[in-house]
């Protein structure tokens, strides 16, 4: 565990369409959280959220950056991408809604479950999007909340 007041920062670049690298940021963060002895349930909630978000940038945007901050209280994740943006965010949050291309579906994605999955696994989630410019997704997972539901 980290001391109060100390935090670790990470930054990753993601390229749209690069499915072979999708998940490397999530994998890196998982290793760090394991080393910090964070509870396994919390690790899984954090990396599943991050992975879904990372795959969304690969699947739906042109490129993006991921910023992760780990403190003694929470794991904060910020994803900023350049891409088509999301026209109707509440619709995108619905289970089953997807605009994924056939190529994305071939990779095993496009069920329209990623964003609802992030919502379920995180303690805080916020999406901002400008159509034609890109999307910003903010996710927080509290280190001491093991029940897996938003408070």
């Amino acid at each position: 565990m980290l001391y109060v007041g100390v935090s670790l920062q990470f930054r990753f670049h993601v390229t749209g369409g690069d499915f072979s690298s999708a998940g490397t940021a999530s994998s890196e963060i998982k290793k760090v959280l394991k080393k910090l002895n964070v509870d396994g349930v919390v690790i899984k909630r954090a990396v599943v959220s991050l992975y879904e978000a990372e795959v969304n940038v690969v699947a739906h945007a042109f490129e993006g950056d991921i910023f992760v901050n780990i403190s003694s209280e929470k794991i904060s994740i910020l994803l900023k991408d350049k891409g088509p943006g999301i026209v109707d965010i509440s619709k995108a949050m619905e289970e089953g809604f997807s605009t994924a291309s056939p190529q994305v579906r071939e990779m095993g994605f496009g069920a329209g479950m990623g964003l609802p999955n992030i919502k379920r696994n995180s303690d805080f989630m916020d999406i901002q999007s400008v159509v034609g410019e890109g999307t910003t997704l903010q996710i927080e997972i509290y280190i001491n909340n093991k029940n897996g539901e938003q408070e």
């Binding site: 998940g23 899984k44 992975y51 990779m107 095993g108 329209g112 379920r120």
Partner: protein, 114 residues
Amino acid sequence: MRLKKIIDLLEGNLLCGEERLNDEVEFAFASDLMSDVLTVADSEILLITGLANIQTIRTSEMSDISHVLLVRNKRVTQEMLSLAIENGIALIESPYSMFKVCGILYNLGIKPVF
């Protein structure tokens, strides 16, 4: 049921993860949709899938899944194999279809997660 028994029953072939042959498998989940797999909170499951690409292994890594069975002899790439080895995942291929694999395992008492 021991993993090695499952491999025998399904005419399977273990590609990596020999150290897991004696693992007990109690639950299984079958899907080709990775976001579907990512909704499963339990980790101690056998993942049965027809999707054979690097994201199958990444998804298993994120979900703490240690046993992955690919149906219908899907081709495994070197990239998939390396990532599975790195994460201590037992990767098995079977010539049987998804339906046949699920039918056999269900009959023998392997339980669903939902």
